[in-house]
């Protein structure tokens, strides 16, 4: 049997919701042994977030939590007790990596700052993922996913104010967030990459370090051209702006939408062929990718006329058979049932003691030597207390019983 890429890596997690937990999930799914620490009362907020299996709100039935915590062990521990903090530090000695996403002030208050913990384990890699980072004037500000997305500057990319006639009535200038928690996810991804860099460095040198990820900065990094529009040519983002070549556009079909990016001339040629080589396509105002963008309003109407008579799936198949980068605007049902994703066995079935077998998104990559694999579902609250406190740390059954009553674990 093939092993996993991160077999042997030990990770401790003390985090809520998306950013910290997803970072640790990425490591866990590649083989790292992850112990997730939750406060017995103030447990991971994700447990209280919908969607809930069968629409029954219950902290073991949140789809978000179930997804974000696969392959982890879970324990409950109250860090505000002396005993709890002591146990936490024992776990820090065990760990290679500690991931957390708590407010920096709280981390200091609890006595689990990088300074505190590197004294306990000098080789520790501590990955802190917060809205604004560990330094700077907003360090202690509050920020949810939406706030990070907007301070990162992404909202103005998503206003959909492209110079379209078709969608003129629906145009709104509001800086939009994407559906879901994308600032948190981007932060988690950056955290996982940085953690791996730190881990490779430590394998080489034995030296640990503190990784500081700001969700705002993670968001700001995802836009290839946003700030350069200002620093290169003093052009503001927001409002009608798109790449000056094309067409790059959304078009209504009989039964939905398609979206295309015609970046290269040969792609345009193929599109024209697909539409039956209409005369208008040979006009001066559409002669190359740059003028097509300039004359997009004229072009859009002509395209819409052809596309509006066809179904999105039909156009998709035909366009792709010709090598045209055109896709349907899928809803989630279409994505889950996609023949392509199913052929790749992208979605996986995971069995869980409380909700049974459910379909989850899998990994977006396949590793030939060290396959990604789910070995266990997300932990129930405190599911692995016995295994961690008893087997790993050697506390007696009696101690565990007493610690539970004393609200330590």
């Amino acid at each position: 049997m093939k092993g996993k890429a991160l077999d042997g890596m030990k990770v401790l997690e003390y985090a809520h919701l998306v950013s910290g937990p997803y970072c640790a999930k990425l490591l866990a799914d590649l083989g790292a042994q992850v112990i997730k620490v939750e406060d017995p009362k103030d447990f991971d907020v994700a447990r209280r977030r919908e969607p809930f299996f069968g629409d029954v709100p219950d902290y073991e039935r949140s789809g978000l939590f179930l997804y974000l915590n696969t392959n982890k062990m879970g324990i409950t521990l109250n860090l505000r007790t002396t005993t709890g903090l002591g146990i936490f530090k024992e776990l820090i000695r065990w760990a290679d990596v500690f991931t957390e996403n708590n407010p920096p002030k709280l981390v200091e208050e609890l006595g689990i700052s990088y300074q505190d913990l590197s004294a306990v384990n000098p080789r520790l890699i501590m990955t802190s993922i917060t809205p604004f980072g560990q330094t700077g004037p907003y360090r202690d500000y509050k920020g949810y996913d939406l706030n990070c997305w907007q301070l990162g500057g992404y909202g103005h990319q998503n206003t959909n104010e492209y110079p379209s006639i078709l969608f003129a009535d629906q145009r709104r200038p509001v800086p939009l967030k994407k559906g879901g928690k994308h600032a948190d996810f981007q932060a988690a991804l950056n955290g996982a990459v940085a953690t791996m860099c730190a881990f490779l460095y430590r394998e080489r040198t034995g030296i640990g370090q503190h990784v500081d990820v700001s969700a705002v900065e993670a968001v700001a990094s995802t836009m290839p051209d946003n700030i350069q529009y200002w620093t290169y040519q003093r052009q503001l983002s927001g409002g009608p702006r798109t790449y000056p070549l094309g067409p790059l556009c959304l078009l209504p079909c009989k039964d939905g939408y398609v979206y295309m990016w015609i970046f290269e001339e040969h792609q345009w040629e193929r599109l024209v062929q697909m539409m039956g080589d209409p005369e208008w396509a040979r006009e001066e105002i559409f002669k190359d990718r740059w003028v097509r963008a300039q004359n997009f309003e004229a072009l859009e109407v002509l395209l819409a006329d052809w596309f509006g008579q066809r179904s999105a799936q039909e156009v998709y198949m035909e366009a792709q058979a010709r090598g045209i980068p055109l896709v349907p605007s899928n809803d989630i049902q279409e994505v889950v049932n996609s023949p392509q994703l199913q052929a790749r066995e992208f979605f996986v079935e995971i069995d869980h003691p409380k909700v049974g077998s459910l379909t989850y998104p899998g990994a977006p990559f396949k590793l030939s030597e060290t396959p990604w694999k789910i070995d266990r579902s997300a932990p129930l609250l405190g599911e692995h207390n016995e295994e961690v406190y008893g087997k790993l740390l050697g506390y007696s059954t009696e101690d565990q019983r007493k610690m539970k009553q004393a609200e330590v674990i």
Binding site: N158, V193, M196, L200, Q209, L250, R344, L367, E369
Partner: protein
């Protein structure tokens, strides 16, 4: 001397546009030597995409996207349409640890540079393919970019307003794929250091976006329900949105997630009478009545600039930030104090601010230490020093449009 986390790792990138270049950027920021293979025969369009210095296009070295995503890298020109080009590519791969590309699978097949072919010359290579659809499945040879991927993936279907079209189209899939690929490559490097074995990473850009929307996917797989577009709203938090401020295109984002924060908001707004009304008296009622609530909040935000609103609200313990445009982003005081931006000095673009390393590391911070390469700038170093060709050989190959 400052140490780099990825010192000694050499990467060859055959990709273009954004996905694999973003992967290369992350690795190069951390100290890997990343060699970008380009050719006039197959020009990376990003070299001629705007923004341009002072709005003036011209030549192959002035594209603002290219110059940010390719900082710290080396660039060579090599024509893979020529058999000699492929031979040289293989000699280069033989001295690299990581191979990356982001085409549909048939492209590398046509060049004779598939994983199986490449491992003949470098058995422990880590080969990362960042294709749109993945290397297998009925749609593997379909073509797509990061922009359309926001629609294909279903992400646009949950982005936008309930009464408007699905919203997307920016190349969000590219940096996302680059990040996932970087993670997988680093894990593979770790595995190689333990076992000596390389491997093949088959990434699907489509899938990289689906894994970021578990709420929508799980809602469907658990409850067979399709999530609607909700604008800036949340499942339970309210208020949760962007509100107009004083000035043109000026907005502040506000999110309230607890009773304590609600009280803070009321206080910041000067405890207006409406805030004590029954319709807003608990989290559920605020969520139910958020249309009305949003209007009342906006009456207040309109009297303030975006930054003022943030200061007042944060002072009361409420999560609020301006919705910044690109100028505000570059001038953002907090980000500047953290040193997030760097001044890039590029021979053809001049001094321009670009985004620095996306994260901070206490021991191996990495950085931006070299401007993006001019077209073919490092031909001499790579073909001469690394591969041992003489200047005469290089000149001949250039004449024959192999180094081209």
């Amino acid at each position: 001397m400052e140490e780099f986390a990825l010192e000694g790792i050499r990467v060859v990138d055959f990709g273009w546009y954004w996905a694999s270049p973003y992967l290369g950027m992350l690795l190069a920021d951390m100290g890997a030597e990343v060699i970008k293979v380009e050719s006039l025969q197959r020009l990376d369009t990003v070299r001629i995409l705007p923004p341009y210095p002072d709005g003036q296009p011209g030549g192959l070295n002035r594209g603002g996207i290219y110059n940010m995503y390719n900082r710290n890298k080396l660039a060579i020109t090599l024509n893979l349409a020529k058999p000699q080009g492929i031979e040289l590519a293989k000699r280069l791969i033989a001295v690299c640890d990581v191979f990356t590309e982001n085409y549909s699978p048939r492209v590398m097949k046509n060049f004779g540079l598939t994983y199986d072919q490449v491992r003949q010359v470098r058995p422990d290579i880590i080969y990362a393919s960042l294709s749109a659809y993945g290397a297998t499945g009925p749609e593997k040879d379909y073509v797509c970019y990061g922009g359309p991927q926001t629609y294909q993936s279903g992400l646009a279907s949950v982005t936008g307003f309930p009464d408007g079209p699905p919203v997307g189209g920016e190349p969000y899939g590219d940096p996302t794929a680059g990040l996932f690929a970087a993670f997988a490559v680093l894990a593979a490097l770790h595995h190689r250091s333990k076992t000596g074995k390389g491997q093949y990473i088959d990434l699907s850009q489509w899938e990289t976006l689906v894994v970021l929307m578990p709420e929508a996917v799980m809602e469907y797989t658990m409850n067979r329900r399709i999530r609607p577009r909700m604008g800036n709203r949340d499942d339970i938090m309210a208020p949760h949105g962007c509100y107009r401020c004083q000035g043109e295109r000026s907005w502040v984002s506000i999110a309230v997630g607890s009773e304590e924060e609600w009280q803070g908001l009321c206080e910041a707004l000067g405890n207006p009478a409406w805030a004590r009304e029954d319709r807003f008296s608990d989290a559920f009622r605020r969520w139910k009545n958020q249309d009305e609530l949003d209007k009342l909040i906006e009456e207040w935000t309109l009297k303030h600039t975006d930054y003022e609103a943030m200061q007042i609200l944060q002072g009361a313990g409420v999560a609020a930030t301006p919705c910044v445009n690109n100028q505000q982003l570059v001038e953002e005081p907090h980000l500047n104090q953290r040193g997030f931006f760097v001044e890039d000095d590029h021979p053809e673009a001049g001094k321009r601010t670009i985004i620095g390393v996306p994260w901070k590391m206490s021991q191996t911070p990495g950085g931006v230490y070299r401007h993006a390469p001019l077209f073919g700038e490092h031909n001499e170093y790579v073909f001469g020093e690394l591969l041992g060709l003489s200047s005469k050989e290089i000149a001949t190959l250039a004449e024959e449009q192999v180094i081209y």
